[in-house]
Symmetry: C2
């Protein structure tokens, strides 16, 4: 059996599963203080004889194997979790191989193994929720570099009629600042779920998301773009995004995936809300390979 | 001996060299019609007994090994070169292994093997010249996907005082449309080389290039950013770019490379104008590995 943790800013999803991505048991705990949340996590895994544990975590996280703070959550705005030794805390109780990556890289891996990007050596997983995060597989590998990508903070062009300042504490009107769930709530004065019938809300949302996806396509050339997270539950957003992406690319990328089959190119997660935790299972499987 | 071709929109650079990146002989031919230019290329290589040839080509090119048009230049605006079977034309005369990639991916590889990114498994090579092109190595591999990246066409925020329409035939005011050599010439009415002392020209240039590099950093997290091409001969641009990148990132990427050592992070090519042709040698070496 393998253990999986999808550690999000609002909740932790833990699971017991196997190398084929089957989830046998699953539990959800709120993200409070590390001691409290981790106690739930450890209690959950204790009765199981797990061979390895995979963790997909909110970030920023330190993924450099040779770093003294490898496996830590680093400079997160969530004070209680800052400099938290996540891998260390798990290893202390379960001395098994641990796979560790960002929540969105885990989700990209889950979708590549068992979801919408099955069989492809390249894909992108974007979550639009409390934050905006993106994970990617390129040339068959999870994408890392100097640190891990932070694509949610990319620069976007402001809509000429949009005077909203943006909610990103670092950049104001970066993508996350303009298009995350909290940005929608602050701009329109209501939660996204309560704005379902307000066409202008989702037109503007698509305007920003499409810019981001256009730049991701120009920069990474992914073979599939998968969009998840709470905001994408507004299923009328995705068709608007696809149309804007085609317009913004202006026919420049001459590939049928974009010119003709964009409905199969920019898609919802094949694994639904389980992409992240399934990906964490895949991280666990890789840790013992 | 290895052969190398850096095929650019204005000139072809051909070289004979070795696995260590040493260039023994070098020649430059103008890019005219394929028959004419290729005749020069073939004459150049004929006296040499090359074991392999590496080609870094202007694009778009088809790099998908299983495609019927693998090795072709595809939808280029240069009519005469459209659907030109580059690899086929070389193979006909030299039946040796051929390495083929974009000019900028070749330059990234050259810089990684022997230049400013030596020893790193990740870097970005950006050329700012007649067009803007970017190649990348991520996770130790040259970056490809659905097609190859087209990072030069990414969306940028227009400067509020800039009313220039942009020169990109596809997008108008994309990065290439606003910041390539021809964009500078059209906006200011003079070639870049004649505008050296006009501070406002280079401030605006840095404004656009820095946005692009900021997004590349957020999306790819490269370990080194290398900038070459004719426009970067204006060496006062790079310090402006670095400062803008730091401002745009707003302290979000907490890594000393950006916070403290940006002069060593965003740099000129270690191989000067030979990055592309040296990279083509590396492509040749890989083709026989
Ligand atoms: N059905 C919905 N329609 C629009 N927005 C939603 C919907 N459900 C959740 N959201 C928004 O998404 C955000 C939560 O994102 P979610 O992906 O569910 O969790 P998290 O990002 O915290 O893991 C909130 O800002 C919420 O308002
Ligand atoms: N010293 C310079 N200062 C500013 N711009 C320059 C300089 N040299 C060349 N350029 C501009 O760069 C472009 C040519 O780019 P270059 O990289 O030399 O060739 P190419 O992109 O065609 O391979 C032209 O638009 C030219 O005006
Ligand atoms: Zn931001
Ligand atoms: Zn363009």
């Amino acid at each position: 059996m393998l253990g999986a943790i999808e550690a999000g800013g609002t909740k932790f999803v833990c699971a017991i599963g196997d190398e084929q991505g089957n989830i046998h048991e699953r539990a959800v705990f709120p993200t409070t203080a590390p001691e409290e949340t981790m106690a739930h996590v450890i209690d959950f895994f204790r009765p199981h004889n797990v061979e390895a544990i995979g963790i997909g975590s909110f970030g920023p996280v330190d993924l450099r194997p040779d770093s003294p703070t490898y496996g830590y959550i680093t400079s997160t705005p969530k004070q209680a979790w800052r400099n938290f030794d996540f891998v260390g805390a798990i290893k202390q109780h379960f001395p098994v191989p641990i796979g560790f990556d960002t929540d969105v890289n885990a989700a990209a891996l889950g979708e590549q193994r068992w979801g919408a990007a099955r069989g492809l050596d390249s894909c992108l997983y974007m979550t639009v929720g409390t934050g905006i995060g993106v994970g990617a597989i390129v040339e068959g590998r999870l994408l890392h570099g100097l640190l891990h990508p932070e694509m949610g903070h990319m620069l976007v062009r402001r809509h000429p009629d949009d005077t909203f300042a943006g909610v990103c504490p670092y950049h104001g009107d970066c993508l996350e600042g303009m298009a995350s769930g909290p940005a929608i709530e602050r701009r329109w004065g209501k939660k996204g779920a309560e704005l379902a019938d307000r066409h202008e809300v989702w037109e503007l949302e698509a305007f920003y998301l499409a810019q981001a996806i256009t730049n991701y396509i120009l920069i990474l050339s992914p073979k599939k773009v998968i969009t998840g997270g709470g905001v994408m539950k507004q299923t009328h957003v995705l068709p608007l995004v696809r149309r804007h992406v085609q317009e913004l690319l202006g026919g420049y990328i001459q590939h049928e995936a974009i010119l003709e089959k964009i409905d199969e190119y920019i898609v919802l997660p094949g694994l639904g809300d389980n992409a992240g935790v399934a990906g964490a299972l895949a991280l666990a499987a890789r840790a013992i390979e």
